[in-house]
Each structure stands twice: as structure tokens, then as C-alpha cells.
Amino acid sequence: MAATVCTVYTAQSLNSACSISTPSKTHLGFTQRDVVLFSSSGKKTNRRCSKSVITCAGETVVIGLAADSGCGKSTFMRRLTSVFGGAAEPPKGGNPDSNTLISDTTTVICLDDYHSLDRTGRKEKGVTALDPRANDFDLMYEQVKAIKDGIAVEKPIYNHVTGLLDPPELIKPPKILVIEGLHPMFDERVRKLLDFSIYLDISNEVKFAWKIQRDMAERGHSLESIKASIEARKPDFDAYIDPQKQYADAVIEVLPTQLIPDDNEGKILRVKLIMKEGVQFFSPVYLFDEGSTISWIPCGRKLTCSYPGIKFYYEPDTYYGHEVSVLEMDGQFDRLDELIYVESHLSNISTKFYGEVTQQMLKHADFPGSNNGTGLFQTIVGLKIRDLFEQVVASKVKTPVEATKA
């Protein structure tokens, strides 16, 4: 038997940190600093390694989240990491402008860190950050692949304050890696590394309303400047960001309400959760009867809602040629009992106990969207990803056992 060599990191998640070492292969940006080599000559180590060979390689589950700037990625990330347990914090003692968030199970990296052109470079060439020419997809692919294979990497940091690329930071392989940004599904190689992908699709009306909300207080901004910025970026957005939604396993679409005729305030939202069928370890949420078409107004004798009420819709559909299930919520929750009532009527939401969705929404009642479909569907997608992660881990533990049986 050939001696196997395992690389073990000092990271907190020992399970996911093993891999077969490949000393001949040198990847750009890989670190040697924290690597401890175990030679598997002893029986004890050997057993550990033979297990590692099977279970550790590719144990990091990789999730992609795509959305434009200012469309709620950060909020979604906070909901997601909360569902996984433990708060996600920036790396301790590192660059204060790091874009990374780390919790016990999850590391979230921002794909802006793979900008190949800094702010000055983009200005000189006249390209936006949305343009693939401003991004280094080779490095993105190599590093995401390395982490998925259990190898730590030195990832660059794009500093959003200075617009410069700062010295890199060490990213150790977590149990769950989330890559969020403008282009997680743009490059085919990166896309193939994703175990699950989400696209946040914010309609133009809502995007405008959200950016007004975000920027109007900022000195120098006006309705005109906010509009000009959205319009100037739109051609690149349409060319490079929007097409990624066809690859997403789940799309959260945010639209203006239909409950109020000609509503132009943009306060009440209609949110669609579009879930691809046939994705491994992911079974779509449904309302009452899987695969039927259902229109449901929960407000009535049992539940009192305030104006303009709440409306749900569920149907099978096709989306860019894929079979999907679509769950839609229009309106907003005004009271706790409305949320509990709705949760108890949804099926396949992957909760671990009754009321978990409601509990998560309440825990973060101060996050934007906690009273409407954006918060509800973000929370549900978080629970679905937790479920997917647990299934992936279970399937990998099962594999070697089945192999020995055979």
C-alpha cells in the first residue's frame, strides 16, 4: 500500500480540512504556513488518512449567491449564517476592511476580492466592476476549487473604501463556503463548483426604491444621481449579471405589489421564490398539494390581516427551459400570528421544529424585509441550504461504508 499523506490544518473544522497533498502542483496563492504534514506510516494515522481521502476531499459545500450591489446580499447572508448557527463576524485581527465573514460552520467571501482592476484601473479603461474584464475568473476558479478540495488559500482583499487591492488574507476551508457577489455563476468552471446557487432578482422599480432608501440621506445624492447611476450601469448589468439567473437553483424575485392598484410607493412587495426541480439534495417548498396550482388568501375568519392583506400563489412552471416550482407572496405580515399561520401551512420547508421560520424572522426583526416575502423566502432558502448541507455530509459518510460492504 502506498503511503498516503494527509494535510491537516489547524483550523477549527478539522473534518473538512483534510486532503490528499499534491506537492508537485503549485496553485497561485496557496499558503504553506498553516499546513502540517502527516505521513501515514503508522497504522493510527493511516486509518485517519484513508478516511480522509474519501470524506475530506470536496467536503466543503459551496454556495453561490448572485445579486447586484445594493440588492440585499448582506441581509441574506446574515439570515443564512444565522440559520446555520452562530453569528458571522469579520476575521479577527485581520484587515478591518476585509469583506469576509466567518462563523463556526460558514465562511462568506465577497467576489469583489477577485477584481483584477482596481478603482483607478477601471476608471482608466472605462469599465465597470460588472464587466468581466475587471475580474480575475482564473484566480476565482482556482481558489474556490482549492477550498472545496480542503486547501487553504491566500485570497486578495478588495478594499471598498480605498478602491485598492490590499494584501491577501488566509481563507481556511470551512464546512460551508458562500461566494457572494456580482459573478458567482458567470464563469462555467466556477459554476460547476457550486453545490447550490441563488440569484436575487430585484425589479427595476424596487431597486430604485431601495437605493433611494439607502442613499437619499447621503450628502450629494439626489433622485437624479440615484437614477443616473442605475441607468449608467444597466447595460453592463443586463449583459453580465442578469443572465446568471438561468443557472440558479433558486431565484428570489422582488416585484411591486399587485394588491394595491397602481401602487407606486414600492413599500409593499410581491416576492417570488422560483425553485428548480431535480436538483440533488433540494426539494422545493410547496403549498398544500405538491405540483398543483393554488391561490391562497390566508386572511379570513381564522386570521385577521390589515390592509392590503396577504396573498399566496403556488404553481409549477418553466423558467429558462427548466422545470420549476414557484411560490409567491404578496403583501406583508403585520403581526406575529400571521407569520405562524402562514408557516404552518407551508410544506417541505426543512425546519427542525414547529415555528422555526417564525423564530428566525423574529430574531432578526430589525433586518430589512422581516415583514414580507423577502425575509420569509430568504429564511426558507437558508433552511433548505442547511438541509442540503446535512444531506451532502450524510451521503459522504455513507459512501465508504457502502464501498466496504460491496
Binding site: R122, K125, L130, D215, S225, A228, F333
Partner: protein, 127 residues
Amino acid sequence: MATVSGLNIYTPRFLTKPAKEAPKAKPMIRLNNPWGRTHRFGNRRMQLRQVRAAPEGLSDKVEQSIKNAEEACAGDPASGECVAAWDEVEELSAAASHERDRKKGSDPLENYCKDNPETDECRTYDN
């Protein structure tokens, strides 16, 4: 159900406590509203969460970048220069917004109460 309806949305851990302190009045637990109506809460802790401008440096940069973009687009609104300039405005505005969020979370009382919601100074009352 009485327990659930009496809980304060900022301290969900009270779920496990008996509802003896819960107000008998019909609870109007408003889940968040993204349009910044939170200041209408009759909750004293919410008043700490007011929108602050981003730190001076970033605010200045946002303001300057808007001026630059307007200048860059004076000639040709479809030019790469113009588009890149507005993209910079978006990037800086997003950075300023993240900075504000980060500041919001740095309130020492908020941080203390996250870990010690049961202490006297962290109790909140609904009206």
C-alpha cells in the same frame, strides 16, 4: 400562544419564560418594515438606532464621485468614462451604507444586551 404573543421581538429568548410580565393588551408586534419606520416604535432601545451618515471620509468620497460622474457624462453619456464614473458612485454609496450598518451594531448597550437580555438595563417594554 399567550407566551408567544407576549414576547418582545427584540428578545426572543423570553419565549421560554412564563408570560407573567406580558402585557394583556392585544400585541401589535410589527415585524420589520424596510422603509425606516422603526423610529415609530415606542421602544426606548430603538431610539438609539438612528440613521447616521457614513464616516466623513466616505461621505466626502461619495459626494466627490457624484460630481465627477456628472462631469464625466457631460460630453458623452454612453462613454466608458461616464459609465465607470457612475459605477464608482454605486460602489462608494454601498460602502457608505455598509459602514453605517457596521456603526449601528457597535452600540455598547446593544452588544451587552445581546448577551445579557435578562438584565434590568436590557429590559424593554411595549408601550
